[in-house]
């Protein structure tokens, strides 16, 4: 809607808008986030309620996908056990970049009610994957989840794309040379021992 309002502006007449390409991209990315459809524990039931008729998450442009390869973000909805943590890491890594993660509920944030004696509970999912938005509550209300989605949209629409690409390319180059050096080192070592 913001776009249409801009068209009414007399300065941008004739349907022409002046702006940065980055903004356009970000606007598109922020308003159509697909999430990975999976649930962990009690919070997942509230997550279902958010998706169902009463709270209707789809009006924010969020559609469930069953495969991580089609998703933009993942919702960690509940207690993460040590047994599950490795799986979640794999799932998260399967999501193509740029990817985001929402941590829903105190369990995912910090271990929640199970922080003290939970020998099999991971005390905070951020020990395994990076998190963008945290939602407190046990379980968080559906309204809180919607707030989190808005926060995520805000974050995405402020991101830089081109500079980041440059930076990532540089980092990649550095990494490559480091790896090469390491490999050479290794080969030298092996040769020495032979």
């Amino acid at each position: 809607m913001g776009l249409l309002n801009a068209l009414d502006n007399p300065i941008n007449a004739d349907g022409i808008i002046l702006g940065k390409v980055e903004d356009l991209f970000n606007w598109g990315r922020a308003k159509s986030n697909w999430f990975l459809q999976f649930g962990l524990a009690c919070c997942a039931i509230e997550f279902m309620a958010v998706n169902a008729s009463h709270f209707d998450l789809m009006r924010f442009g969020n559609i469930p996908r069953s495969s991580p390869r089609q998703a933009d973000y993942i919702v960690i909805s509940g207690t993460v056990t040590l047994k599950m943590a490795e799986r979640i890491k794999i799932l998260f890594e399967q999501i193509p970049e740029p990817r985001y993660a929402i941590s829903m509920g105190s369990c995912a944030n910090s271990g929640g009610p199970y922080w003290q004696h939970g020998y099999n509970v991971l005390k905070g999912i951020d020990r395994v994957i990076p998190i963008d938005v945290y939602i407190p509550g046990c379980p968080p209300r559906p309204e809180a989840f919607e707030q989190a989605v808005l926060k995520l949209q805000e974050k995405i629409s402020m991101e830089e794309i081109f500079k980041k690409r440059e930076r990532v390319a540089q980092e990649d180059k550095m990494l490559e040379s480091m790896l090469k050096a390491e490999e050479n080192n290794f080969i030298e070592n092996v040769n020495k021992h032979i």
């Binding site: 962990l40 008729s53 599950m84 799986r87 004696h117 379980p139």
Partner: protein, 393 residues
């Protein structure tokens, strides 16, 4: 017992002599993040083409150390942990636990509290069954029932939220009473709720339950004979769908359930509406009928619930539990839920062991789903209605 399963007639099972073909078996991993496994259950399935030949369930992806926490918390602090076992029907979980503590500590509970507790449990039961039916529909590919039934479910959650302050995990019951007084419009809300649920279920029967496609997907699938169900100690809709007339609300009435007049829906062999006794459709049908029975109980509860009297007066200032041990059971939404409580006289229990219903009911899955298609396996799992929080504890 195994033979019994094989011999049942009237079965959609595909009988193939495996030795005839030199077919290759494939191992497929379903879960733990698959949405149709109702949480984080992992099934290692061996397939012959599309046909399931073996299943190995791997549990424990949500093992939250419930029993360890109980040993380190006092009796009132345990109630929230109990909530989080079967998180879809939290009130029903608290019920046997507080009864066990009350029995050990010798606390008498007033009649008003008992009736209120039963009513809360029934509202919660309806909420759970609405979720179970809609999720079952979702498994079979019907998305609309979910959208329809969640409307009514929000209503149930709304009533319980007004009572307890929480939407999903209530922490409402406590030994001796309930935490908060009843709000003034409670009876009116319940009345409106009953009407809307009845209307919704009528709609649902046309939309989903007697829908041809749905019947074709669910009838004569996953047959569970009666003797096998008893041997596996199944309870709840799973057992009643197989014709076992077993409901703790009737067989050993607790709380105020002897004051209510209601039936136990059982699908007995020879009296089926659709399909055969013990198939997926029957198990789901028991849930549909149970919603109606719960509505009946709520209706009577409105007249039985006295207006005067307090529900929070009976809570002891300091809870003292003498040494002893007790096993208390109640009819959870999924079957028999029991708590085995061992007290040593201190303020913390020595051992709390939950007989988790879903854990016991899930154990039948490998036996009843061999020989069906893989897509049917999802239906069978959906019809058992498990909650992983309870399976793994």
């Amino acid at each position: 017992m195994e033979n019994n399963l094989e011999n049942t007639t009237n079965n959609n099972k595909i009988n193939i002599e495996y030795s005839q073909f030199d077919s290759e078996r494939m191992r497929l991993n379903a879960g733990p993040q698959h949405p149709s496994t109702h949480g984080v259950l992992r099934l290692e399935v061996e397939l012959d083409g599309e046909i399931v030949t073996d299943i190995i369930p791997h549990l424990g992806y949500l093992h939250r150390c419930f029993e360890k926490h109980c040993e380190n918390s006092n009796y009132n602090q345990i109630v929230p942990f109990v909530d989080r076992l079967d998180y879809v029907s939290a009130i029903n979980n608290e019920f046997p636990y507080v009864m066990a503590v009350e029995k050990l500590a010798g606390i008498e509970v007033s009649e008003k509290v008992q009736i209120l507790r039963a009513m809360c449990a029934e509202i919660n039961r309806i909420a759970n069954h609405l979720l179970a039916i809609s999720a079952f529909g979702l498994d079979s590919g019907a998305f609309t029932p979910l959208l329809f039934l969640f409307r009514e479910r929000e209503f149930a959650l709304g009533i319980l939220e007004k009572l307890s302050g929480a939407r999903l995990l209530y922490n409402y019951f406590c030994p001796g009473g309930v935490r908060y007084e009843i709000y003034s419009d409670f009876k009116k809300d319940v009345k409106v709720f009953i009407d809307s649920v009845r209307l919704a279920m009528k709609e649902m029967e046309d939309l989903l339950i007697f829908n041809d496609i749905f019947i074709k997907r669910t009838e004569k699938i996953g047959l569970l004979p009666k003797e096998v169900a008893i041997n596996f100690a199944c309870s709840g809709p799973v057992a009643r769908g197989s014709g076992i007339n077993f409901d703790i609300r009737k067989s050993a009435p607790y709380s105020s359930y002897d004051k209510f007049d209601f039936d136990i829906p059982v699908v007995e062999p020879g009296k089926e509406v659709v399909g055969v006794s013990g198939d997926c459709w029957s198990r789901n049908w028991v849930r549909v009928k149970e919603i109606e029975e719960s509505c009946k109980i709520l209706e009577q509860g409105i007249t039985l619930l006295p207006d005067e009297g307090s529900v929070t007066d009976g809570i002891p200032k300091k809870l003292k539990v003498p040494a002893g041990e007790v096993y208390c059971k109640a009819e959870n939404t999924k079957g028999e839920l029991g708590f085995y409580l061992v007290s040593n006289g201190s303020d913390k229990p020595e051992r709390v062991r939950a007989r988790a219903t879903s854990f016991v009911n899930l154990a039948i899955l490998p036996s009843i789903s061999k020989g069906y298609m893989f897509a049917d396996l999802i239906m069978i799992l959906g019809s058992i209605d498990i909650v992983l929080g309870e399976v793994d504890r």
